[in-house]
């Protein structure tokens, strides 16, 4: 585990970081002018996913407690908010912009109860217990129609408030942006409080914390509660945006995607999970029309990240900065180039193979196959490919067969360059 977070906190925020943050903020504020309505909706979903991932990361990356059932707290936030919107004969318990607070409170209360159980154990047990708790809610929800609305879910209406109609995407976007930024600021502030430092201690060495006289169980429950509170807030935001709560939200898919996204982004950096979640949500929406295998790609990407770059995408920048300082950019740039080419070859090969298989094994295609006759060709990447032809299968094979050695070569040279540099340093 790197201590990037702690280091940044100790040094204070550097000037370039501040400039970048301000530029990012300006861009986020300008988005409604720049984007179409559907893209703006995608941006809202990205923001919510980013907040959820950051809330998850407080528990997982900083507290070292891997939760596989975080959708439960998100879902509780969704339903609490939907019911708050329907309260007082549809008038809503609070003005629309304040409604997500209800989700946050519900997530907090539920998280405190669930967390008390889950944090009885640590490590692997903790992961299993969170999963089982989420499944408990998931199994129970369809039966309690009064609260979770059964198959059709519970729908609600956003009421105009404070002079905003909340009927157009712009209003919703700014409301979501406000809450997400506020939550991220609070979460960042949390890391700099004594409790935030203790959270890191919980991850690094909880035994020692106990020897120092801290009540680690209470501490873990607190961290869990804060994390589920912000998850509930994310759920509340989604409820206000979709005007709907359905028990599908308790599904294991949401829990697993937040784990995948956070690690793809990189859990050691504060904004890593947010980056991962926003990117993956965006790609998920962008390619949902093109492919039915998006989840498979997500899984593969996750495993590749786990195997080859355990610090995630956000860690890549750190690795690059470190290597550049040691060997200089000139020696490394060709390697990066080769690596990028290899990456492109490998991903093209993988995508080609998966899409081809996906088409060949789809029910539509199966129905079109006649016994005895050759299998009909499939269309892909703008031309048709015959499944019986060798060339069709050669394409992904050649792509993968050239990409793998290239990637391996680049990796070896990279390691060799760093080693050689260390060799020069040693005699000093």
């Amino acid at each position: 585990m790197t201590r990037g977070l702690g280091g940044a906190a100790a040094r204070g925020i550097a000037l370039p970081g501040l400039v970048a943050a301000l530029a990012g903020l300006a861009l986020l504020l300008a988005l409604p002018v720049l984007l179409s309505a559907s893209l703006l909706n995608a941006a809202i979903q990205m923001l919510i996913a980013a907040l959820f991932a950051c809330a998850f990361n407080l528990l997982c990356g900083q507290g070292g407690m891997l939760s596989f059932g975080h959708s439960a707290y998100f879902g509780v936030g969704v339903f609490a908010t939907v019911h708050a919107m329907n309260a007082l004969a549809g008038q809503g318990l609070l003005p629309t912009p304040l409604l997500p607070v209800v989700g946050a409170l519900a997530g907090m209360v539920f998280g405190a109860i669930a967390g008390w159980f889950a944090t009885q154990r640590t490590g692997t047990y903790f992961a299993m217990i969170t999963l089982a708790l989420a499944e408990l809610v998931h199994a129970l929800a369809p039966h309690i129609k009064g609260v979770f609305g059964g198959e059709s879910g519970v729908s609600a209406m956003r009421m105009p408030a404070w002079g905003f109609s909340f009927g157009e995407g712009r209003h919703l976007y700014y409301m979501t942006l406000f809450w997400v930024l506020l939550a991220l600021l609070l979460l960042y502030g949390y890391t700099r409080t004594p409790l935030g430092r203790l959270t890191l201690g919980l991850r690094e060495n909880s035994h020692r914390l106990r020897f120092l006289g801290y009540n680690t169980h209470l501490l873990a429950v607190l961290v869990f509660t804060v994390s589920s509170m912000f998850s509930g807030l994310a759920g509340g935001l989604q409820a206000v945006n979709n005007e709907l709560g359905n028990y599908v939200v308790f599904d294991a898919n949401l829990s697993s995607s937040v784990v995948l996204n956070s690690y793809i982004g990189g859990v050691n950096m504060f904004l890593g999970p947010a980056l991962g979640a926003a990117l993956m949500t965006f790609f998920g929406l962008a390619v949902s029309d093109l492919t039915r295998s998006w989840l498979l790609y997500q899984g593969i990407l996750f495993v590749v990240v786990m195997l080859f770059m355990p610090t995630g995408l956000a860690g890549l920048a750190q690795t690059w900065a470190l290597a550049r300082r040691r060997c200089g950019a000139q020696r490394l740039l060709p390697l990066v180039g080769a690596w990028l080419v290899a990456l492109a070859l490998l991903s093209l090969g993988t995508v080609f193979a998966i899409e081809l298989l996906q088409q060949l094994f789809s029910t539509d295609y199966r129905a079109g196959v006649q016994a005895g006759a050759p299998w009909p060709a499939v269309r892909q990447f703008g031309r048709s490919w015959a499944p019986g032809a060798v060339t069709t299968w050669l394409v992904p094979l050649v792509l993968l067969a050239t990409g793998t050695p290239l990637a391996r070569w680049a990796g070896q040279r990279w390691a060799a360059a760093l080693d050689a540099d260390q060799g020069q340093d040693a005699p000093r």
Binding site: G64, L66, F68, F117, I129, H143, S293, L295, I300
Partner: protein, 313 residues
């Protein structure tokens, strides 16, 4: 009374099935400290492989071949994936197996579609073993129970009576010492991982034909297996056996009880009030059967956090 006997038998056999899967998981955990998230995926793959092989090899051939294939896959996973990330710690290994289980699930959906496949008990095995009162009891259920018991006896004998068993147990107990004495511990790890995967595959091949074979079966069973190992205490075979049976019986009996909390509260005169409140109170216990194991798990966590047979905390 007949209903009671049938529920008892069903519960025992479901429990034995749970044990077949959780035994491998517990062994692997005890040995390598890795919680293999993909373990239930191996169970699912066993069912799908057997379904695919069945037309070519016949049902019995598929039952034998599918676990072998799954075992080979398990070896590949250990050798080329888990060993790579071993240096990053157990959490990393857990996450990797989680990612693999995700990929396996999606691949199964890609090849077989996101719906149950026609994997059935063959007609030659689909007959009643005996009658309990009015009810015919299927022979295939007895076969599943028999396979599980045979497996338990075999593991037990292998671990306690053979030379291989001694090496494996020593590798679990003191891996470094076993290595220093000249045993190839990584090979033992690989073997145990493969064997655990094969056992899960066998369970899947046997049970998939009786229950449904669909892409969700891994998650459904996987969660239940996790509950089993938490209740039983991770790393303890006896605990896994006990809690598998317990959970099997609890679910099986709950399905047969058509009562709700209202009926219970009616005994103390609060029935009307509970009926008015509705929600959780009016739910029939039979419809809650799927949630009872989780409740049991929470209870165990509350009263005995290390699990029924576990001693590590």
């Amino acid at each position: 009374m007949d209903q009671f006997v049938v529920s008892l038998l069903n519960g025992c056999i479901y429990g034995l099935l749970l044990f077949m899967v959780s035994a491998g998981l517990t062994l692997i955990f005890g040995m390598m400290g890795v919680l293999n998230f993909a373990h239930a995926s191996f169970y699912m793959l066993g069912a799908y492989f057997a379904f695919t092989l069945q037309p070519y090899t016949g049902f019995m051939g598929a039952l034998l071949l599918a676990p072998v294939l799954v075992g080979v896959l398990g070896v590949v996973v250990e050798r080329f994936f888990l060993r790579r990330v071993h240096q990053h710690g157990h959490a990393h290994e857990l996450l990797l197996t989680f990612g693999l289980s995700f990929i396996i699930g999606e691949l199964v959906k890609l090849f077989y579609g996101n719906y149950p496949v026609e994997y059935r008990v063959p007609a030659s095995l689909d007959f009643a073993a005996f009658r309990i009162g009015e009810l015919n009891y299927p022979f295939y259920r007895m076969l599943m129970g028999g396979v599980a018991i045979a497996m338990f006896v075999m593991i037990f004998l292998l671990l306690t009576r053979t030379r291989v068993g001694i090496v494996v147990r020593s590798a679990i107990y003191r891996p470094r010492m076993a290595e220093a004495l000249g045993h190839n511990v990584p090979l033992v790890f690989m073997g145990v991982f493969g064997a655990g995967a094969a056992l899960a595959g066998l369970a899947g091949a046997v049970a998939g034909a009786f229950y449904t074979t669909n892409p969700n079966m891994a998650l459904e069973l996987g969660v239940m297996v996790f509950v089993v190992v938490v209740v039983g205490g991770l790393g303890s075979l006896e605990g896994a056996m006990l809690s598998s049976l317990l959970i099997g019986l609890v679910t099986s009996f709950a399905v047969g009880i058509d009562r709700s909390l209202v009926d219970l509260l009616a005994l103390v005169g609060l029935g009307g009030w509970a009926q008015g409140v509705g929600g959780l109170f009016t739910l029939k216990l039979s419809s809650l059967a799927a949630t009872l194991p989780f409740a049991l798990m929470l209870l165990v966590l509350l009263l005995r956090p290390s699990g029924l047979m576990g001693d590590k905390t």
